[in-house]
């Protein structure tokens, strides 16, 4: 298994009800696989999964990206700084 850290921001954090969690996932899981897992583990997040931005170790990640060992995964809506 692969222990990863998930960080939630903005609307995603509000829906998750927490800023971060640690999670064990299968080795070589893709971002798409992770999104599917989160949709079933956290039903509140399900509706966010189509528009959520995902990052792996602080770089933007995409559905076919493989989640590396001990990755730091960020999840958030499109940014709105400035």
């Amino acid at each position: 298994m692969n222990k990863i850290k998930l960080l939630f921001f903005a609307t995603i954090r509000d829906r998750a009800g927490t800023k971060s969690i640690e999670l064990d996932i299968p080795v070589n899981m893709t971002i798409l696989g992770l999104k599917d897992k989160l949709s079933s583990d956290f039903p509140n997040l399900k509706e966010s999964m189509s528009s959520v931005l995902m990052t792996i170790n602080r770089e933007f990640a995409f559905d076919d990206s493989i989640v590396p060992i001990n990755a730091e995964i960020g999840m958030f809506p499109p940014v709105s700084g400035g």
Binding site: L7, F9, A10, T11, D14, L53, T55, R58, F60, F62, G74, F76, P77, P78, V79, S80, G81, G82
Partner: protein
């Protein structure tokens, strides 16, 4: 190749943005021109969805935001090699109308070298790829402001 001593500042801060200090930090002996963009909290918005704002609460994914600010600075230097200094600052926390919340400043020897375009590019890119969000508090309640940019692989 970029000389490595060109000043580049990027920070996420909860403190007041000091334009005088930041300008001084990105002014070299060869610098004659600075273009600076500053963004402020609007208390009254007329365009699109007219509304009033009591305050905004900003949050950031701080370490990633700093890395992406560095990326924005790198992109600016790649497009406008004459740029000498760059400062990119995002203030976070609870911020009231008229308060400066973000600053992008670019310096160069002369004003006709793209320094305005570079600053404009910087603020546009910050609002696309730097992970910062704001929640708006007003008479109608509270609401997260969401952007609409979806980064592409490699961004």
């Amino acid at each position: 190749m970029q000389p490595s001593n060109l000043p580049t500042i990027f920070s996420i801060t909860e403190s007041e943005i000091d334009l005088n200090e930041l300008l001084a930090q990105i002014t070299q002996t060869s610098t004659g021109a600075a273009a600076i963009f500053a963004g402020m909290v609007r208390g009254v918005t007329s365009r699109d969805n007219p509304h009033e704002t009591e305050y905004l609460e900003y949050e950031a994914y701080v370490p990633m935001a700093e890395e992406k600010m560095k990326q924005v600075a790198d992109e600016i230097r790649e497009r406008w090699p004459v740029i000498e200094g760059i400062a990119i600052v995002q203030r976070i926390g609870k911020l009231y109308p008229k308060t400066p919340t973000v600053l992008i400043a670019c310096t160069a020897a002369h004003r006709d070298t793209g320094v305005f375009d570079a600053a404009r590019y910087g603020i546009d890119r910050l609002k696309e790829i730097v992970p910062v969000w704001k929640k708006e508090f007003g008479p109608a309640g509270q609401e997260w402001v969401e952007g609409d940019y979806i980064p592409k692989p490699g961004e």
